[in-house]
């Protein structure tokens, strides 16, 4: 046990001292600080910008007039109509030089008694401006039609008022509100990304380090001083602690920034409230994070041990990288479909369950036995894979030359009696 501690301490010390680690941590924290303030910045600068829109009124001056009155009534209009263009050619030139964002033209549409409007701008896709124009035009059309119906103003406003519609989750306890759901999606997203990144980065680091020890032949001395098991787990645990410290720093920076008063308001505007986070979610996150990390770290360690040259490593870890990427993308799909059979099935497959069970806990309502079963399967596979990885490691570190095939590896295992 003492030697395990020595390996852990050595691994941690060298990681934390390396310039690459310090710089990358600082850069990530800086990015998080900037990212944490993005909601505030969007609100500040993006929200109330007024865009200029030109028009060719043709035979419908009353529609353009209607738009004008409508936007004039708004407190902070996001569209301003620019007149003075003689023809479409000039409008096009204005779009080119940025004087206006785009312009409207109208064509007859006798079927509904209201002309079709076309918004011309640099982007063919809908924008906030085109949406705003569409809503405004809809209202004007309603006014046109209702003019003859002789409705009172009160009736008109009742007709125009949008209906209330809300999604609520069905659960045995109290359902999640939209606000909670929004927070859960955001949180799950962050957790899945963090897990994916730390597994990939730490896993690659572990594999690279082991291969480097092998190719620099320092391995020969180490394997004669300490049992391969202590060495492998020391490295995995050491890297894990460093990764956790790094993540703690980053998450800490993020939480502090999100809780700053100006950001908290902005977040609430997006329907994300940090105080609605379920404590059980945090516990499950930690559990799946731990298990997921160790599962992958051990596989990376085993692969690192069978490769003798760092150049060959990328190819050798590809299968594991693919596994994490598949898990990640299935999880991304699951963010919007947490109850699909694919997600449910994959949440029991050990390589994917760290990503997907966290997602289901956050977004769906899996039964407690489902969570327990998933964790159980995960723990058993960690034990099995840990045992297998240790065996591979024990054999791999002594094998030099070209990357061994599975057959050669099994043969060597028998020969070394591991």
């Amino acid at each position: 046990m003492n030697k395990l501690g020595t390996v852990i301490a050595f691994t941690m010390r060298n990681k934390m001292r390396s310039k690459a680690f310090l710089i990358s941590t600082l850069v990530l924290i800086l990015l998080v600080v900037i990212g944490g303030n993005v909601p505030y910045l969007i609100n500040k600068f993006g929200g109330d910008k007024t865009r200029s829109v030109g028009y060719v009124e043709g035979q419908y001056p009353e529609i353009v007039q209607g738009l004008r009155t409508l936007y004039a009534k708004q407190e902070k209009p996001d569209v301003k109509l620019e007149n003075g263009a003689s023809d479409e050619k000039q409008l096009k030139a204005w779009v080119e030089d940025g004087t206006i964002s785009g312009y409207l033209t109208f064509t007859d549409n006798p079927a509904i008694g209201f002309p079709s409007a076309i918004y011309h701008s640099k982007s063919a896709l809908g924008s906030d401006t085109s949406q705003s124009l569409q809503i405004a035009l809809q209202e004007i059309k309603n006014d046109f039609v209702l003019k003859d119906a002789k409705l009172s103003d009160e009736q008109k406003s009742r007709l125009n008022a949008p209906i209330a519609f809300q999604n609520e989750q069905v659960t045995d306890g109290s359902g999640k509100t939209a606000e909670e759901q929004g927070t859960a999606i955001g949180l799950t997203y962050v957790i899945v990304i963090l897990l994916f990144m730390s597994v990939m980065i730490s896993g690659q680091l572990i594999a690279t380090e082991i291969t480097a020890e092998k190719s620099s032949r320092v391995m020969e001395i180490i394997v004669t001083s300490v049992s391969p098991l202590a060495q492998m787990f020391g490295k995995v645990i050491g890297t894990f602690v460093v990764a956790i410290l790094q993540i703690a720093g980053i998450v800490g920076a993020l939480v502090i920034n999100l809780n700053l008063p100006h950001n908290a308001d902005a977040l609430q505007g997006f329907g994300i409230r940090l105080d609605t986070v379920d404590p059980a979610m945090i516990v499950y996150t930690v559990v799946f994070f731990l298990t997921g990390f160790f599962l992958y770290a051990m596989m990376f360690a085993a692969v690192g041990s069978i490769v003798s040259r760092t150049e060959d490593l990328g190819q050798a870890v590809l299968p594991i990288t693919m596994l994490t990427i598949v898990g990640f993308y299935v999880a991304m799909f699951g963010l919007t479909h947490p109850d699909s059979p694919l997600i449910v099935v994959c949440s029991f497959i050990p390589f994917f369950s760290p990503f997907l069970m966290v997602l289901r806990v956050g977004l769906a309502e899996p039964g407690w036995w489902e969570i327990a079963l998933s964790i159980g399967i995960l723990l058993v596979s960690i034990l099995v894979l840990g045992w297998l990885s240790a065996k591979i490691y024990r054999t791999g570190v002594l094998m030099y030359g070209k990357r061994p095939s599975v057959k050669e590896l099994v043969k060597a295992m028998k020969a070394y009696k591991v």
Binding site: R13, I222, T224, Y416
Partner: protein, 300 residues
């Protein structure tokens, strides 16, 4: 009780035998030479002694006890392929390796300083390994093998790639270790080092021990068939002496191959008849010759 006793160890890799029934013993304060061509099974033998791989048959005893994890701290190993962590400070990695061998941090630091002083490079303590020259990296590697005061040290090609000054320095150090009672298993291709350092040797060939015993006795088994002769005046007609196989004239004398030691006396008489002889020696076979003879003969 001898520190290291290897008894009839056998190791097979699949259907290939790597070591076939090798036995030897190393006593306290002895350097034991393990010789053999490339692929003869030396490294496998050393790995078995180090406990990295277990023999399929036979037995290895350390001070009479079988292998266990406790044995690790009394073993020191200098692998043939050298390597350290290039980007880590000398002190950090040597202390780490010493700690893995069960030494306390403080003792390891003190011992490292002592060794660096001994090699007259105390300033390397805070240097990274990649900043050192190859020869100096070797010194650091050597320190890594012996820092924890092991009772049994395994040196695989200890002096390869060193300049003559450093070879001398390390050779002196190895002798000091021997005189302090350390048992050393020594493998090399340089026969003159073996002759200088080792008492007993094993020559391995294709997994089998082919020649074993004290160097002096091994040499006695091989006939003396080389004669060095030098005189003031040139000597003619040496090749006509019966029993002489070949004559090579060097700048300062002759080197003759004779069929049997008795022929040498006839050569001496022949030379004396022509004038005074300054040097006459019936040479023992060198280990180099013995090695080539033993291994080379059944080399395919």
């Amino acid at each position: 009780m001898n520190p290291l006793k290897v008894e009839r160890v056998v190791k097979q890799y699949g259907d290939k035998t790597a070591v076939n029934g090798l036995s030897f013993e190393v006593s306290e304060g002895e350097i034991y030479g393990l010789l053999g061509a490339n692929g003869a099974g030396k490294t496998t033998t050393m790995r078995m002694v180090l406990g990295l791989i277990f023999p399929d048959g036979g037995d290895i005893r350390y001070f009479g006890k079988p292998y266990s994890k406790e044995q690790l701290s009394m073993l020191g190993y200098l692998p043939e392929e050298r390597g350290m962590y290039p980007k880590i400070k000398v002190s950090d990695q040597i202390v780490y390796l010493a700690q893995l061998r069960g030494m306390s941090r403080k003792d390891a630091e003190a011992n490292l300083r002592k060794w660096l002083d001994k090699f007259q490079v105390p300033e390397y303590y805070d240097k990274k390994v990649e900043e050192l020259s190859k020869g100096n990296q070797q010194k650091i590697q050597f320190i890594a093998a012996v820092i924890h005061n092991p009772r049994i040290v395994i040196l695989d090609e200890a002096f390869s790639g060193l300049d003559p000054v450093n070879v001398e320095l390390l050779k002196t150090t190895v002798k000091e270790l021997r005189d302090n009672g350390t048992s050393i298993v020594f493998s090399t291709h340089r026969m003159e080092h073996v002759e200088e350092l080792c008492r007993n040797i094993t020559i391995m060939h294709k997994s089998n021990p082919v020649l074993q015993g004290p160097i002096r006795e091994i040499k006695k088994k091989f006939p003396q068939e080389r004669v060095i002769l030098s005189a003031d005046a040139p000597i003619s007609g040496l090749e006509t002496v019966p029993g002489v196989v070949s004559v090579v004239r060097h700048e300062h004398g002759y080197e003759l191959k004779v069929r049997e030691p008795e022929t040498a006396q006839a050569v001496l008489r022949h030379a004396l008849a022509q004038g005074p002889v300054r040097r006459f020696e019936l040479m023992e076979p060198t280990l180099n010759e013995i090695f080539i003879k033993t291994v080379g003969e059944n080399h395919e």
